[in-house]
Chain length 307, copies 2
């Protein structure tokens, strides 16, 4: 196993200014694994669903070379369900329903053949579950990437701090970076957070792009200006999936290659938001990806010769 | 005359989370001309102040090769005065006081030697005053850049639309672009606005950078992540000044050169916010500018070879 992805696999009901969709397939691990599958052909999921989860989606995941031996299917159980409504500007949303269902008692079990994965992507989950997965690995992965959210910062800061101290890359959004560090300046926030353990920090700013920090350098990737952002659900997870999928494909964790990975992650996220749920991710071709990367290059390329 | 700058020259009282300053020199034309003076050595201002305006500042402008023959000094008059307080996040501010004073009856008179300027920068002012300046030119400048704001969109949309139709480049912020176009997507907003007359549109997004559009291309320049944004007043004007100053210096209005100009404008803005008012702009050296441009290059440079 080359890339192990941990996170929710779930149902979402989503309401945006452009429409509504009821109980579509979502979940952090779903978006991450699908986006990573543009790049890597050897990945697996650790997660849990109920008996209500559609076989069709399981089949689609397998078709994308995503191993689901670590996806527990709980007999008689119901899958995690989230429902939310986005504001007009799409930058804010209200959660209408959260039903943990089978996630409430989720005890992740990493299958034997996943335990030596080179790359480990921990999608948003309780910090304790994320730690449990790290502890089950037979050897330290080359790179562990952690995604988390403000909810855990507020409800279990100590558990979260411990998980953060165990990983190499943390991905959070700008308001979470400010909350976690108590610093308004993102530069100061990054410096603070890198002292908590991770060697790298990615601050996701949605339509305003993403920043990659290590202790000495900073790299900025814009978001592609889109005709229409249809549904932002899963954009951050798609970003993370493209990022780690590209790193897994290239097996190069230098800062220069991480910059490329951030661009590929941004491309994956830019596709994700073009349709509801995972629909767009399922149809993106290699040519679509190449064209989107060209757009990124054109968007930021300038030529200034300094004396 | 190579570059003509029109706009306010004024006093500002500014309250930010980092401190307060009373009646410091400000005004759109002041920031624009000072930032342009990094690049061009032949510029002049058309504006108006009262007798209360400090001789020291007039002297500083002249030292930067900014001609002030077109700066009317009204005997017994008081200079335009604005006072505002920024919110904690620095992205929003409340206006506490606006005293038009001598600006209320401002009738711009373009001196004879300014009338053939190659570049004309119209800082934020009533659309009628901006038109009056365009109409006084003895020949059409190579490039006219217009800055404006939401206040004119609401209070005199028709006058403003006429002014917009007369210029080559419009610079506004993202919420103004959405307001002017009625479109949320900035790509759609840009398409709408470019139909109103200008060949180019620059959307300023503050700490999130700036976008340059023509009818076919889009370019994105990030803002440098700063340790501390001390005072955002004048950042947009400094951006515009760096932009047009660089174009005036190079006399090249191709899209590729405008991309460079956007980077130099972003650099000027990044200096502006580091101290209160115009203080930082007055002290920036050529070496500071070169170092800042290097930071921009490092910030966005990535190398992806597409098959």
């Amino acid at each position: 196993m080359s890339l192990l992805v941990v996170g929710t696999v779930a149902f979402d009901s989503i309401h945006t200014p452009f429409g509504k969709v009821e109980k579509t397939v979502g979940g952090a691990a779903t978006y991450i694994a699908l986006s990573a599958s543009f790049f890597t052909k050897d990945s697996g999921i650790v997660s849990v669903v109920g008996e209500d989860f559609p076989h069709k989606t399981l089949h689609e995941l397998k078709k994308k070379n995503i191993n689901i031996d670590g996806l527990q299917i709980i007999k008689g159980g119901k899958s995690f369900y989230w429902s939310g409504k986005y504001h007009e500007d799409l930058n804010n949303r209200d959660t209408l329903v959260t039903e943990l269902n089978v996630l409430a008692d989720f005890n992740p079990v990493v299958p034997e053949q996943y335990k030596d994965a080179d790359f480990l992507m921990l999608g948003n989950l309780t910090p304790a579950v994320q730690q449990s997965v790290i502890n089950q690995m037979s050897r330290r992965p080359k790179l562990i990437v952690l995604d988390t959210m403000n909810f855990w910062m507020e409800s279990m800061p100590d558990e979260l701090a411990k998980t953060i101290s165990m990983v190499d890359v943390l991905t959070i959004n700008d308001s979470e970076a400010r909350q976690l560090s108590g610093q308004y300046s993102l530069l100061k926030a990054a410096r603070h957070i890198l002292k908590m353990g991770p060697k790298y920090l990615i601050i996701k700013k949605g339509e305003h792009g993403a920043l990659l920090f290590d202790s000495k350098q900073v790299f900025f990737a814009p978001a592609i200006p889109l005709e229409e952002v249809f549904d932002p659900t899963g954009a951050g997870d798609s970003f993370a999936g493209g990022f780690i999928g590209y790193l897994d494909k290239t097996k190069d964790i230098s800062f220069d290659n991480m910059k490329r990975a951030v661009i590929f992650g941004s491309a994956a996220a830019s596709f994700c938001v073009e349709k509801f749920g995972i629909d767009r991710l399922l149809e993106v071709s290699e040519e679509d990806m190449r064209d989107r990367i060209k757009e990124f290059i054109n968007l930021v390329q300038f030529d200034i010769q300094l004396a």
